[in-house]
């Protein structure tokens, strides 16, 4: 039996549902040294902002029980440098590239999208309205329905490519956000970005992260991420890219069952840079054993 792992997200066709999450794959360059990116559904760039961002002062990383907090602070080379040096590299990687954009104003989101729209290598935009680690931008939008609506509609005008809005889990009504995205012409949502968390040193009494708080990722958050994806899929008809704590193919199946059309893997790439391969192998076996010919059949098959 030949298993078809391909899935569609809006106009975007992925050879399999495994996407490498923003912030965990750089600009593709480093991972291309050890992964054949053509074998992976897509990669999502580190968030790009209009101006380069140095990012937060260290310490930027701390481990927690089955999770980690990061406060990278959207460190990135900025739009111009990205266009000048990173896009030419991306063009050589033979990968499906989704460009993640972060900004501190609606105008900035639009400006970035417009500037990047012409590059054929960029197949879709993931709009980060949910980064917990920067003062301006990020979550100010992510937890504001009107702002998310406005961002979506204005970006819709700026591009015909697939628009994916990356949603924040740090609110009580994620499905409302997905509804607004759909209404305003977004093609899909990613759920979830990290949860806000912190950790303190009990001797110095200082936060371990210089930024005070960080974003919680990894298996600790998987149950929350699954509940958010389920919440969206039960009330809005929009493609969902599920993520949050995926470690293996079983987790991927779980996300697809609750409604994800594709998934992203983030933190696991740090622990096992070959996780994408292992997951794809596992999915093929699962499909074979369960007589699933097209993996897209799995999406939203929850029995409630």
């Amino acid at each position: 039996m030949e298993i078809d792992l391909s899935v569609n997200i809006g106009k975007l066709k992925l050879c399999n549902p495994i996407v490498l999450a923003s912030g965990t794959v750089g600009y593709g360059e480093e991972v291309a040294n050890f992964l054949d990116l053509s074998k992976i559904g897509a990669i999502i760039t580190k968030s790009i902002s209009l101006k380069p961002r140095r990012g937060n002062s260290p310490q930027r990383i701390v481990e927690t029980s089955s999770g980690m907090l990061n406060a990278i602070g959207l460190a990135n080379v900025g739009l111009d440098e990205f266009v000048k040096t990173k896009i030419p590299i991306l063009e050589k990687l033979n990968s499906n590239v989704i460009c993640n954009i972060a900004a501190s104003s609606i105008e900035e989101y639009v400006e970035c999208t417009k500037a990047l729209n012409e590059f054929e290598i960029i197949k879709a935009f993931e709009i980060n309205v949910s980064c917990p680690n920067v003062k301006e931008g990020g979550l100010i939008f992510g937890n504001d329905l009107t702002a998310v609506g406005k961002i979506t509609s204005e970006i819709r005008v700026a591009t015909n490519k697939t628009i994916i809005i990356k949603l924040s889990p740090n609110n009580s009504n994620i499905a409302e956000f997905a509804k607004v995205v759909k209404q305003e012409g977004g093609d899909a949502v990613s759920a979830i970005n990290t949860l806000i968390g912190t950790a303190f040193d009990i001797y110095t009494k200082k936060p371990i992260l210089k930024n005070i708080t960080g974003g919680l990722s990894g298996p600790a958050i998987k149950p929350v991420a699954l509940a958010k994806v389920l919440e969206i899929s039960r009330s809005v008809d929009i493609p969902i890219i599920g993520l949050g704590g995926i470690m293996n193919w079983k987790d991927v199946v779980e996300f697809m069952i609750v409604g994800a059309s594709a998934v992203q893997i983030g933190t696991v790439n740090f622990i096992n840079p070959f996780a994408a391969y292992e997951i794809i192998d596992g999915l093929i076996k699962y499909c074979k054993n369960n007589s699933i010919i097209n993996i897209s059949q799995l999406t939203g098959t929850y029995q409630i």
Binding site: K46, Q59, R60, S66, M68, N70, I271
Partner: protein, 253 residues
């Protein structure tokens, strides 16, 4: 970047050297054949989600198919590692980072190691040929001294229980080693120690490389977690990818 690999490596031995320091040898033929002094590996100490992240350890030495680590128990991950026994399997990711430069033109290599900071030097020393080597090493007290694989050691202890009372930097400064353009210093240890060494080397215009530590998530340049300030510009450098070995005047501690 290096082509990184993961080897599921069988433990050959995991011996306790002092109250808190262990010597671990594992079968990793591929990494053993590629890794260079000053590089490191990222070790998964548990098959489960806890602890979640790998733990970085410098390559201490290579013996044929074996790679050797020297590590100190400081927290949950190293505690688990210390319990591992011969025959168990560890997932090792490597080789990571850039190692020491020891091909350049120097006559005397000065090794400075503070505490577990001695870890990367046995392999470096084995690879430095035809040069004079002096090792200045410092520990909290007599019982914590580890000079495994080192050459020509001078000792310091914080409490004076063995050798000079003071740090390895005090020791290094106190000895009247001939320091000139043909001297190269290789140092590793706690940040405050390296900081004072860097100042000293700037003052005296000495050639020095330091191996840094940092909290890390990935170890191979994709998470941006392990930054250290660059001296040259306003940017950050990645300890895992641009380092862990830096020229003393590249970075600000």
């Amino acid at each position: 970047m290096n082509k990184i690999i993961i080897e599921n490596s069988i433990i050959e031995s995991n011996d306790k050297l002092t109250e808190s320091i262990y010597l671990l040898k594992v079968h990793s033929p591929i990494i053993a054949s590629k890794i260079k002094p000053g590089q490191f590996c990222n070790v998964k100490v548990s098959d489960t989600d806890y602890p979640l992240l790998r733990r970085p350890f410098s390559i201490c030495d290579v013996e044929n198919h074996l790679i050797v680590f020297l590590y100190q128990v400081v927290g949950v991950g190293t505690e688990i590692l210390a319990q591992k026994m011969e025959g168990e399997v560890l997932s090792i990711l490597g080789p990571l980072g850039n190692g020491f430069n020891f091909d350049d033109d120097f006559e005397t290599a000065i090794i400075i190691g503070g505490g577990i900071g001695v870890a990367p030097f046995p392999f470096l020393i084995r690879n430095i040929t035809n040069k004079k080597i002096v090792s200045y090493i410092g520990f909290r007290n007599k019982n914590e001294i580890v000079d495994y694989g080192l050459t020509n050691c001078k000792y310091a202890t914080d409490d004076g229980s063995f050798g000079l009372k003071g740090t390895c930097i005090d020791l290094f400064k106190s000895e009247n080693t001939i320091l000139n353009s043909k001297t190269k210093i290789f140092a590793c240890g706690p940040n405050p120690m390296l900081k004072s060494l860097i100042e000293y080397c700037s003052d005296k215009n000495l050639n020095c490389e330091v191996s840094l530590e940092s909290a890390m998530a990935c170890g191979f340049g994709i998470c941006q977690g392990c930054v250290v300030e660059s001296k040259e510009d306003d940017e950050y450098k990645l300890v895992c990818k641009d380092g862990p070995v830096f020229k003393f005047n590249e970075i600000k501690l």
